[in-house]
Amino acid sequence: MDAAAIQRALRRVAHEIVERNPDLGSLVLAGIPSRGVEIARRLAEFIRASEKIEIETGIVDVAMHRDDVGARAELPIVRESKLPLPLEGRTLIIVDDVLYTGRTVRAAMDAISSFGRPARIQLAALIDRGHRELPIRADYVGKNLPSAASEKVRVRLEQTDGEADVVWLLKE
């Protein structure tokens, strides 16, 4: 998936978000660091270009809400969450680059609930690679990428990785 394909997919996701959410003013796009934050920013930009409305964005860090602290060889770096408060009455869309087991999304929902109680939470992912371990599905998907568990999905974005946008599947 090259830069143009990524932009097309995100533009379509932005349109779907607009279609499904008549009250754009109540929307919050909350990215999971680090690439989810950049994707949320791009989605907000697409919506601003087509709808002339500024969508609020935020950051939801999941490190301290993970269920595998102490089980992973590498401890995830903790970053600060930044969400527009209060969340009550708002529609919050969690944005991430790759949707895989669903555990990160569960941790994100847990983190969000410690800030308040949004009216609803939706999920947008650039890539859905399958292999869910929890009953979670995305409301908006840039691209479905069927993969084997032994494979790895790599995403690079210019703003977060300093190289041209690209998505590829790494075969082991």
């Binding site: 860090d61 490190a63 301290m64 809400h65 993970r66 269920d67 602290v69 102490g70 089980a71 992973r72 060889a73 590498e74 401890l75 770096i77 903790v78 970053r79 600060e80 969450s81 847990d110 983190a111 609930s113 410690s114 800030f115 308040g116």
Partner: protein
Amino acid sequence: MKTRWTRKDLLGLRELSADEINLILETADAFKQVGTREIKKVPALRGKTLVNFFVEPSTRTRTSFELAASRLSADVINISAGTSSLAKGETLKDTAKVLEANHADIIVLRHSSAGASEFLAQRLKSSVINAGDGAHEHPTQGLLDLYTIREKRNKIDNLKVVIVGDILFSRVARSNIFGLLKLGARVTLVGPSTLVPREFEKLGVSISHKIDNVLPDADVVNLLRIQHERQRKEYFPSVGEYTQLFGLTKERAKLLKPDCLIMHPGPINRGVEIDSEVADGLQSVILDQVTNGLAVRMAVLYLCGGIATP
């Protein structure tokens, strides 16, 4: 940042790299923000048990660790010297082995002997956090002081930090010196020559015995508590004389730059090392230090307690 945390214990700042110290401070940023949430508790250490093992008395450090552990969802047991079997003659190692047999994952140790934390850390699988060992180090106090300076001044590199008081017997001073030098600050120690010996210059700090000479240039003044309970007469003439020569009085505070930070690890001896009005004044960040201590201790517990144990 690419640094990864690999230590199960925090024994002192001397052995940490600048990158590791910065990683703790950045992690503390995230945990400080947890205190502003509607629900001030995260599940990071759920299911872990922390033992606050204080062989020397302390209220604020122990309470701060206890609150930090609660906010991380760990279970906390408090043991102090009077209530432990140490009073019955059990050795430190045996008591600690018993704690470990009870599945303590993290032991926070305050002890009157330098090296006590290292002694336990080498013998136990549990994480050991040094909450002050004799006159050696008090790393979380050093870290919260660094955090507070960085928060208020947005940097530490090149700042002129003056530490005043009983340096010789102060673990807070040692942890501050190691941390500040690693992050590029310029450190000057001030106090009576009996308590600020020339040997400290080998660490890379300057020494002065005249506080009025160093105050006008300082970006941070950190006043250590005069530890009456540990003071021996041969080192220390009288409290009145100390205040006269080294106390941050109202008059002396006028020498300071308006943006100079005034710090104190507490508990304060008002009228001895610092005047009441100065301690409560606009330049004082003494209460910020307490708030930041919680965030820093959450970060340390998360990092040391969160790494995979073999």
